[in-house]
């Protein structure tokens, strides 16, 4: 993938977050809390759990459908980061050699179960986190964090990150383009040229940071980021938060898949 494509990819998720759907209109605090609850619930399952995790796919699926987020976009992103999760679990089948019966006398090593469980948890958590970003504009997430009393320093860092990642990427894109245009397929892609580009980028970033800091000072910055916007909680936000919490509670503490399974078994026998 070229740098340009990468750049527009990040831009795309940003554009998505400015859509106007039911999910996008929810209070960012409600979404943030729901996402965090979801993450903790999923992580809290034991390392061999598989069946009980499956119902949790309902949540990201619903967000995706109602929030009109293209499935393939999220799917590709999850695949892109999946190597991290794979490498965490890849040796489990070898190390964890206990035998587990999964189906009428078919046994596998417990390691395979835990690898699979890791992959499920990974897919659930990463896709939900991505969906939070894709359905909530970044400035709103920062506001939500600030209102939830996250230290202002962290929130400022995050909002600067969001503000300048595009500027920085554009700058990189210009340098990379300039290099490609004059390297004529030759040694332009060489390692030591790359190192120099990174160096130049660093110097320019430091200079820019200085100018930004001055711009802040000249408008009276004295070490604290002020903020204005306050949200008003709507009924729909409360409904959303409560139903997510209820959903998580039920599927965490009642073996829902098992109950459904037994029920179906009962019907057919």
């Amino acid at each position: 993938m070229t740098f340009d494509e990468k750049y527009y990819n990040i831009g795309f998720i940003d554009q998505l977050s400015y859509k106007d759907t039911y999910i996008h209109r929810l209070d960012p605090r409600a979404k943030l809390i729901a996402t965090l609850l979801f993450l903790f619930t999923v992580i809290s399952f034991s390392k061999y759990e598989i069946a009980a995790l499956l119902p949790f796919f309902l949540y990201p699926m619903l967000l995706m459908t109602i929030g009109e987020i293209p499935f393939m976009f999220i799917f590709k992103k999850v695949i892109l980061v999946s190597p991290f999760a794979v490498f965490i679990g890849i040796f489990n089948p070898l190390l964890d050699s206990g035998r587990v019966v999964i189906f009428n006398g078919l046994t596998v090593s417990a390691g395979w179960l835990s690898l699979f469980s890791i992959m499920l948890k990974f897919t659930l958590t990463v896709s939900t986190a991505l969906l939070l970003i894709a359905t909530t504009s970044f400035p709103n997430i920062c506001h939500a964090l600030r209102q939830l009393k996250v230290p202002s320093l962290f929130v400022s860092q995050l909002s600067f990150l969001y503000r300048y990642i595009f500027v920085l990427m554009e700058e990189t894109m210009r340098i990379v383009r300039a290099r490609n245009m004059r390297s004529y397929g030759q040694r332009g892609a060489d390692m030591h040229i790359f190192v120099r580009i990174v160096g130049i980028l660093f110097v320019r970033t430091v200079e820019r940071a200085e100018r930004i800091y001055f711009a802040m000072l000249s408008r009276g910055f004295q070490g604290d980021m002020p903020s204005l916007k306050s949200f008003h909680v709507k009924t729909s936000d409360v409904v959303f938060a409560i139903s997510v919490a209820a959903f998580l509670y039920i599927f965490r503490f009642y073996p829902a898949t098992e109950i459904v399974g037994r029920f179906i078994q009962g019907v057919f026998s």
């Binding site: 940003d14 504009s137 970044f138 400035p139 920062c142 909002s159 600067f160 969001y162 503000r163 300048y164 595009f166 500027v167 820019r208 100018r211 930004i212 001055f214 711009a215 802040m216 000072l217 000249s218 408008r219 009276g220 910055f221 004295q222 002020p226 903020s227 204005l228 916007k229």
Partner: protein
């Protein structure tokens, strides 16, 4: 009124790496004047602007803004009086949305929320950018960015407006709009630019800077028609004068 003055007296400045940027520069700008600062690349225009609200401190000499002498103690006060608009709006717009960015200054002045909202809307209206208020700056065009950058400075209601190349990167219509906008401001204005036509339209007085000092100071009509002086400073006659 005479208190919105900007006075530089024998100011010299040397960057930490030894580059001499200002040498013994002196001038006085009085209330309500609009002054263009022109000169070749590297003549010291930007350094000069950075002294006006105390980002850089003179190595020697004094800077007097509205009867307050620039020292480390008075810097904050002076920053309220002088609003600086940077050349690159991306440096100036650092908050995640336009609205928050314009509100940044007034909030730092400790104003209450209702007053801040009023200021922000007034400032955005001034540059006809109210409909941009919820956008993040990276979704704006260059023209919109520089309009918002001006609004973010105007929201603090400074007495003196200093601008560094305000029309760089603007398309002709946005540039024209900027010129019309600048003409409506009654502040003291100090504009550093290579865009001599802009200076001719907006300013009454012109300073020519060379190697960190003033080499000419006079009404725009005299300086911008002086072909010899301009050419000595890597400049040319304004395009509008070249035609006739």
């Amino acid at each position: 009124m005479s208190h919105h003055i900007v006075e530089f007296k024998n100011v010299s400045f040397r960057y930490p790496d030894g580059t001499k940027a200002l040498s013994d520069i002196s001038f006085r700008i009085t209330h309500g004047e609009s002054v263009g600062i022109i000169g070749a690349n590297g003549a010291g225009k930007s350094t000069l602007l950075l002294h006006m609200n105390g980002y850089l401190m003179p190595t020697s000499g004094t800077v007097n803004i509205g009867d307050i002498y620039l020292t480390r103690q008075t810097r904050q006060e002076i920053r309220r009086k002088v609003g600086i608009v940077f050349q690159n709006p991306d440096d100036q717009l650092f908050m995640p949305t336009v609205y928050e960015d314009v509100a940044f200054g007034p909030l730092n002045l400790g104003m209450d929320e209702a007053a801040v909202r009023e200021r922000v809307e007034a400032a955005l209206n001034l540059v006809s950018g109210l409909e941009l208020k919820n956008k993040p700056p990276h979704h704006l065009s260059s023209g919109q960015k520089s309009a918002v950058a001006i609004a973010s400075v105007m929201a603090v209601e400074p007495d003196i407006l200093a601008m560094d190349e305000p029309a760089a990167n603007l398309d002709p219509r946005s540039r024209r709009r900027l010129i019309d906008l600048l003409k409506t401001f009654e502040h003291s204005k100090i504009i550093a630019s290579h865009d001599l036509d802009l200076i001719m339209d907006v300013c009454h007085r012109c300073l020519v800077i060379k190697e960190g000092t003033v080499v000419a100071d006079g009404p725009v009509s005299a300086i911008l028609t002086n072909k010899k002086l301009l050419e000595e400073n890597n400049l040319e006659l304004p395009l509008s004068l070249q035609r006739c």
